[in-house]
């Protein structure tokens, strides 16, 4: 097999300029023949640089804006060898060890760098390994990792209400109830209320049904906010709320919800 006579090439990606500088400096010491042909400040740039410059190796910081190092690696690992770089990422490092993905800690220590150099030198000229499955698992499964894109959550967690020329974000955890009023829906929290355009029907479809119950044609209440359900002198059920004086009527159609209470 023909040994390539050209010098090995690499691209470095890290959002912090000083860290790129640091890695460059360490590589110059440990692997003087390595030509660093490009630098990237985020995952998107990294992918672009690799596509254009076609280096042998890409050093990718795990946490980068735009596209994380992990996601960039997934896109690139067929094209070049990748080495992941991190200052600390306990979970990721474990995964790298198990999956035999090359990684470096920052700052890279000379002994580890020498070993990385040996490993990569042996592999340059070969087809880069397909790490897609490993990296995909990392991107999705990492609980403490905060990289890649969060899995699309099912339920609405924030209600947006116009206040002046900005939008008030009201966490669903703070909302006591929604009440249909005329053309709007009133959002009531402990401290304030707001009017939004979303209808109760839309909200019912978007909110976690275990968190919010429809108790009336006009009312959607957060279960945690219910202090107790009482009956008035006419026999109607009324919800008494915590932290708030209003009582909410439960229509007969929904009375079954509170049978066990």
């Amino acid at each position: 097999m023909n040994q390539p006579t050209r010098l090995p090439t690499a691209v470095i990606a890290d959002d912090e300029e000083t860290m790129r500088d640091l890695l460059r400096s360490r590589l110059r010491d440990a692997w003087p023949e390595l030509q660093i042909v490009g630098e990237a400040a985020n995952g998107i740039e990294a992918v672009a640089q690799v596509n254009v410059l076609k280096p042998d190796i890409a050093f990718l910081d795990i946490r980068m804006p735009g596209l994380s190092g992990i996601d960039a690696a997934r896109l690139l690992c067929g094209q070049c060898h990748v080495v992941m770089v991190t200052a600390y990422d306990h979970y990721a490092v474990q995964a790298f060890e198990q999956g035999a993905i090359d990684y470096l800690l920052k700052p890279a220590d000379p002994v580890r760098l020498a070993r990385t150099r040996e490993r990569l030198t042996a592999r340059i000229g070969e087809e880069p390994r397909n790490l897609e499955r490993l990296l995909a698992a990392l991107a999705q499964g990492g609980q403490g990792m905060q990289v890649g894109h969060a899995a699309a959550p099912a339920w609405l967690r924030w209600i947006q209400a116009s206040v002046g020329n900005s939008v008030r974000m009201i966490s669903t955890r703070e909302i006591l109830f929604f009440h249909a009023e005329d053309k709007f829906t009133r959002v009531q929290t402990e401290h304030s209320q707001a009017l939004i355009r979303k209808t109760l029907r839309e909200l019912e479809g978007e909110l976690d049904p275990s968190e919010f119950w429809r108790i009336h044609r006009s009312t959607l209440v957060r279960v945690d906010a219910i202090a107790e359900v009482v009956r008035d002198h006419r026999g109607r059920q009324l919800v008494r709320l915590r932290y708030h004086d209003e009582r909410l009527e439960v229509s007969r159609a929904y009375g079954h919800l509170f049978q066990q209470m």
């Binding site: 959002d15 912090e16 300029e17 000083t18 860290m19 500088d21 640091l22 400096s25 400040a41 985020n42 998107i44 946490r63 804006p65 735009g66 200052a87 600390y88 990422d89 306990h90 920052k106 700052p107 905060q146 969060a150 699309a152 959550p153 339920w155 609405l156 967690r157 924030w158 209600i159 947006q160 206040v163 020329n165 900005s166 939008v167 008030r168 974000m169 009201i170 966490s171 669903t172 955890r173 703070e174 402990e190 401290h191 932290y243």
Partner: protein, 304 residues
């Protein structure tokens, strides 16, 4: 309970007279207290006993006087004494509840004040590199890191209560480090008037907002942006706002343990009087405002 004023008899032995007066006074009030809380059945038994003794000693008159006086005392003073005792018990209960709330808040505060390993190790890597290339910068960042760690480690926090000033200085140190790391991707703007520095402000609340703004708002944004910390006194409330021009909130993103924890702490410390307001400004990004009652430094209600 008041002691009767001492009569000043100008003649003979004034001090002895005073002694007798004081002691009798004390004995009288002890008698009143005792009778006031004595249950009726026990009192009736006492009367029976008094009558028997009076009869036996041949002084039934005194027994009758005793019954009359004790009856009068019980009727008049009993209600007041019971009310006093009930009030004292309620105060004790409130003290216990207040202590429990403060304990809960302290536990939440401890949970909140965790130093992020990512921040720590990235900063150490930065300082390590600067030692090789720019010693002055390395020293500056090193000093900031020490300031930040001192404020963040609960064991190392100074006693004396947390103030807005202390929290601002901690966030300032943190932001100076982030600015050195993110360079042109981060602009920092701190607008807190000095006269607000001494106002009590709970620890690690401003810092939570600042770290959220950096981690979730600005770091993930390719071009970065600006973070502003502003404090103002509005009527009798203290407003502390953290605004960023980052990627903003997603309507589907979780509340975050940090914000939820913060709300719980505010509730534990201030009940209904304090709250959070979260906005998505028209320009993009996010603005989170902590609003607490402005208390004067002397009456330090916020925990450290």
């Amino acid at each position: 309970m008041t002691t009767p004023t001492q009569a000043n008899n100008g003649s003979g032995n004034p001090s002895l007279f005073r002694e007798i007066a004081t002691t009798s006074g004390e004995l009288w009030w002890r008698f009143v207290d005792w009778v006031a809380v004595l249950s009726w059945p026990k009192l009736a038994l006492l009367w029976l006993l008094a009558m028997m003794i009076g009869g036996m000693l041949g002084v039934p008159g005194f027994a009758l006087i005793f019954v009359a006086v004790s009856l009068g005392t019980k009727v008049l003073a009993g209600g007041k004494r019971r009310a006093d005792i009930a009030a004292q018990r309620a105060a004790e209960r409130a003290n216990v509840e207040s202590l429990e709330r403060r304990l809960a808040e302290a536990q939440l505060a401890a949970l909140q004040a965790q130093i992020e390993p990512h921040f720590l190790f990235n900063t150490l890597a930065l300082i390590g590199r600067k030692i090789e290339t720019d010693q002055q910068e390395a020293a500056r960042l090193h000093a900031h890191l020490i300031d930040y760690l001192r404020a963040a480690m609960p064991q190392m926090r100074e006693s004396g209560g947390s103030t807005l000033g202390k929290q601002v200085e901690m966030s300032r140190a943190y932001l100076a480090i982030m600015q050195a790391r993110m360079k042109t991707r981060l602009t920092v703007d701190i607008d807190v008037p000095y006269e607000l520095y001494d106002l009590p402000f709970p620890s690690m609340m401003l810092q939570v907002l600042v770290e959220n703004a950096i981690k979730h708002g600005l770091e993930p944004k390719v071009e970065g942006g600006r973070i502003s910390v502003m404090a103002r006194r509005v009527d009798d409330m203290l407003h502390v706002d953290v605004t960023d021009t980052g990627i903003g909130f997603s309507a589907y993103g979780g509340d975050g343990v940090g914000l939820h924890n913060l709300r719980e702490r505010l509730k534990a410390l201030f009940g209904n009087a304090a709250y959070l307001v979260i906005d998505a400004p028209a320009e993009g990004g996010a603005r989170v405002s902590i609003r607490i009652p402005a208390r004067e430094p002397a009456a330090n209600a916020a925990s450290s």
